[in-house]
């Protein structure tokens, strides 16, 4: 045999059929989780915080989340190949871990319902005024559920396949609206001042999805290292794209005027034009955006399913897909009166998520390190 792979390597499962996730997939998933938030109704939050410095708020928020990501990566590497769940179980015990991750699940389910519903509402308002929003909501759930049921590696591969197109879409959009922009609209530079930087602190949950990616860290090829790199690079790319979009919203619509816009991305795609005759291309952006949204929610649903499976001790999570989609669909039938109520719901959800996920992570970290120190301290004393 020529020099090459060893016999042992040949007996490893095939790299394309195993269920592991590499850096590319993770990066792409992080991007789709975060980057898409610049294109829905979420910019409203950042604009509320930062005014015309909303783009800085978005970046600041990401910067605040970085330590948590770092902590998670450290915990993951400490947990070895077992993932964050096993580590939490070590320090919290079986009941505690169920309680904490049960809360994570409930809040994430809430986020899934509210966000998918918000997307359905968006589509209804902007493109399909006669189609019932509930139908769009159900359709989105089914499509994303199908993708999610295929497993995280499928979602990851799908994301990594689509990432170049998504970035291309962004570039095309920026080229298309270039002559509408007036970059001076972003002055005064600091916008609302302090609030632009303190505001995101209460809404760290805008970036919480990146932490959920740690749940399946045992599937990552390089373990904690891949997690850290993928989440920082992908999330950073996502945060940058959010910042760029916010910048563009303000530059294109003008600062006080952007407050009046509910769906700035969709309005922006309407403004995009390439030369004099290729205009009105929002439907193409809609298509790209919808695919990205499917990936986005497929990841949401996957984590819902994953947590549900682990909490229930169920076998194959695929079998939970249909009940879960049914449940989410019913849960999404809450009456909505206006965009403001939708906004208020999401605001509350974000604050709750921030208040639960981040402290629980710190709790796990603190408990783990205390335990570790006690362990090592005992060891030292023995020596």
């Amino acid at each position: 045999m020529k020099p090459g792979l060893s016999e042992a390597a040949l007996h490893r499962p095939n790299p394309s059929s195993n269920e592991q996730i590499g850096l590319r997939e993770l990066l792409a998933m992080s991007f789709f989780l975060l980057g898409l938030k610049g294109t829905d109704t979420t910019p409203e939050f950042w604009i509320t915080f930062g005014g015309n410095a909303a783009w800085m708020s978005a970046l600041a928020g990401f910067a605040y989340v970085l330590p948590f990501l770092w902590l998670t990566a450290r915990l993951l590497s400490a947990a070895g190949d077992r993932g964050i769940w096993a580590l939490a179980e070590d320090v919290l015990g079986g009941g505690g871990v169920r309680l904490v991750f049960g809360l994570w699940l409930i809040l994430f389910l809430l986020a899934t319902v509210l966000n998918v519903r918000a997307y359905a509402l968006l589509l209804e308002v902007m493109f399909f005024s006669k189609t019932p929003g509930v139908f769009l909501y159900g359709l989105f759930l089914i499509v994303a559920g199908y993708v999610a049921a295929k497993g995280i590696e499928t979602v990851g591969r799908l994301a990594s396949l689509l990432l170049p197109y998504a970035l291309l879409g962004y570039v095309a959009l920026f080229v298309g609206i270039f002559d509408v922009l007036d970059y001076r609209e972003i002055y005064p530079l600091l916008g609302t001042g302090e609030k632009a930087f303190t505001g995101p602190l209460t809404h760290l949950a805008l970036y919480v999805d990146l932490l959920y990616l740690a749940l399946v860290a045992d599937r990552y090829v390089g373990g904690a290292r891949t997690y850290w790199r993928g989440v920082v690079l992908g999330g950073g790319l996502g945060a940058l794209s959010i910042a760029a979009l916010l910048f563009v919203y303000i530059a294109a619509f003008g600062y006080p005027a952007v407050n009046g816009l509910v769906y700035p991305f969709q309005q922006l795609t309407r403004l995009a034009h390439f030369g004099w005759y290729i205009n009105h291309v929002e439907a193409i952006f809609l298509a790209i955006w919808a695919i990205a949204a499917v990936v986005h929610f497929a990841i949401y649903l996957y984590f819902d399913l994953w947590l549900l499976q682990v909490l229930l001790g169920a076998g194959a999570f695929q079998r939970l897909t249909i009940p879960l989609i049914g449940l989410l669909f019913v849960a999404g039938l809450y009456p909505y009166r206006s965009f403001t109520s939708q906004y208020a719901y999401r605001d509350a959800k974000l604050i709750l998520l921030t208040a639960v996920v981040f402290p629980s992570l710190i709790l796990i970290g603190v408990l783990y390190y205390r335990k570790a120190r006690r362990g090592s301290g005992r060891g030292r004393r023995r020596v």
Binding site: F128, T131, F135, R184, P188, G191, G193, Q267
Partner: protein
């Protein structure tokens, strides 16, 4: 020979009834039991179809048929789901009436508007059918009195057969009467809520009622009216005598508390012309004969939702230039000949480098300095003064051009600061850069301070050039007989 096959399907059955899909197996058995007659009939029908759709004459065992039946059932369910869902927003193309222009006028009832929709006859667009539809008009105009913009789409169906679609609207026309008396912002903001409405649509203010404008605007060459607005817009990009006003830019300016310049147009071309003003005039007053029935020149200033005045074509260009919003590569201007003042020197102006706008807020009143670099190409010198070779004469010409520019600018600045008291040049955008936070900027209240600001506009001629020809043609006849027969645009 059949053995192997049977074995396979045994295996298949095992697979189907394995714990993984146990539910499915159970369901099937249940269904095999009690069911009503109608259902059975349907089942039989399905069975027949699946067998036929199967392997031709070679029918397999009972399990094979079951697979086929399931296939049909699955497909049936999928198709049902497909046909039950969707199609709400579907609309056939021929069922749509495309609105090319929308006009807004003040209604008789306060708070309500007269909305005019101009609908184009699409059959005129196709070569093969255009002749077939010879008897049909190329467009139709509908005016709905005393209504709101959003109501019109449905209301118009009282008199028109098709679904109104405004996504291809080429222009909004607003009558001066409406713009001067009603809050324009609320009108446009009302309109923009329609998802079909597009923010980049040009907005034009008409001197007369928009309804009349639309009715009179039957262009000479363009069979399809939308082409008129499109070509017109393309030309504006070259001339700069009207601003490129769009809905989005207006909303942006309004929210920032800034004035905004709209295209000014008129279909009443019989107004007494202002003699010898060339492009220094407003719509309806230009000295042009023939052409299309409408005239678009100059701009209307809208501030805080109300129209407060109008600029001539030349002033518009100047205002845009000083605001660093002139997107025109080059344009023509004529200046008084400094040596023989009855003549005009025709020039082409290029602003290759943008004006430099500096605002000094530390002084009170604030000082705004604008440096405008210029590139002048002298195209014709009807007076035959030798500016081309004589350097001292050249200097004189330059001096004169600068003086004339200063004069025009001073007139415009006076209007802006003293007459209308608005920041016509959007210099607030430059002032904003000096602040760190929005609160500080709001507190500063630029709009309030602008009328008292000391504005210095300095023109600088970067280069002067004399066009394609070095010398005025010596052999040509003296041009004195051209006196009083000046053309609108000097021959380039």
């Amino acid at each position: 020979m059949c053995n192997g096959k049977d074995r396979i399907f045994e295996a298949a059955r095992e697979d189907a009834e394995s714990p993984g899909v146990g539910g499915a197996g159970r369901h099937r058995k249940d269904r095999g039991g009690g069911e009503d007659g109608g259902g059975r009939g349907a089942g039989r029908c399905r069975k027949g179809r699946s067998a036929a759709a199967g392997e031709g004459g070679r029918t397999g065992g009972p399990e094979r048929r079951s697979v086929g039946r399931r296939l049909v059932q699955g497909l049936g369910a999928a198709l049902l789901a497909l046909f039950l869902g969707g199609c709400w927003d579907k609309v056939e193309l021929e069922d749509i009436a495309f609105v090319t222009a929308i006009g807004f006028d003040r209604g008789e009832r306060p708070g309500l508007l007269d909305v005019t929709l101009q609908i184009v006859n699409t059959q005129k667009a196709t070569i093969t059918l255009g002749t077939a539809a010879e008897g049909e008009p190329r467009m139709t105009n509908i005016t709905l009195k005393n209504t709101t913009p959003l109501m019109t789409k449905d209301l118009a169906n009282a008199v028109i057969t098709r679904r109104i679609n405004i996504s291809q609207t080429q222009a909004f026309l607003i009558s001066e009467d409406l713009a001067r008396n009603v809050d324009l912002y609320s009108v446009l903001a009302m309109t923009i809520r329609d998802p079909e409405m597009r923010r980049e649509t040009p907005v034009i203010i008409t001197r007369e009622r928009a309804e009349d404008f639309i009715r009179k605007n039957v262009p000479r060459f363009e069979t399809l009216i939308y082409e008129f607005y499109r070509y017109k817009l393309n030309r504006w990009k070259d001339t700069g005598i009207v601003p490129l006003s769009s809905m989005n830019d207006y909303l942006r300016a309004h929210a920032a508390g800034q004035p905004y310049l709209f295209v000014y147009a008129s279909a009443r071309r019989t107004l007494p012309g202002e003699k010898g003003r060339m492009d220094d005039t407003t719509a309806g007053k230009a000295e042009i004969k023939g052409g299309d029935p409408v005239e678009m020149i100059g701009s209307a200033i809208v501030y805080r939702g109300k129209m407060i005045g109008a600029l001539t074509g030349e002033e518009t260009r100047l205002a845009l230039l000083l605001a660093h919003k002139l997107r025109v590569a080059s344009y023509y201007m004529s200046f008084r000949d400094p040596v023989k003042p009855i003549f005009q020197v025709s020039t082409r102006i290029k602003n290759e480098t943008p004006p430099l706008i500096r605002i000094d807020l530390s002084r009170d009143p604030m000082v705004i300095t604008v440096d405008v670099p210029f590139y002048v190409e002298v195209l014709s010198i009807p007076s035959k003064v030798d500016y081309v070779t004589d350097r001292s004469l050249q200097k004189k010409l330059i001096q004169s051009i600068l003086e004339q520019m200063d004069e025009k600018t001073a007139r415009l600045l006076h209007k802006a600061q003293k007459e209308w008291r608005v920041d016509l040049f959007d210099w607030a955008r430059y002032a904003r850069q000096k602040f760190w936070t929005w609160d500080a900027w709001e507190r500063f209240d630029f709009a309030d301070r602008f009328p008292d600001a000391r504005v210095r506009v300095r023109y600088r001629i970067e280069m002067i050039d004399f066009g394609k020809q070095f010398n005025p043609d010596e052999r040509s006849r003296p041009l004195e007989d051209l006196l009083g027969r000046r053309t609108i645009r000097p021959p380039g």
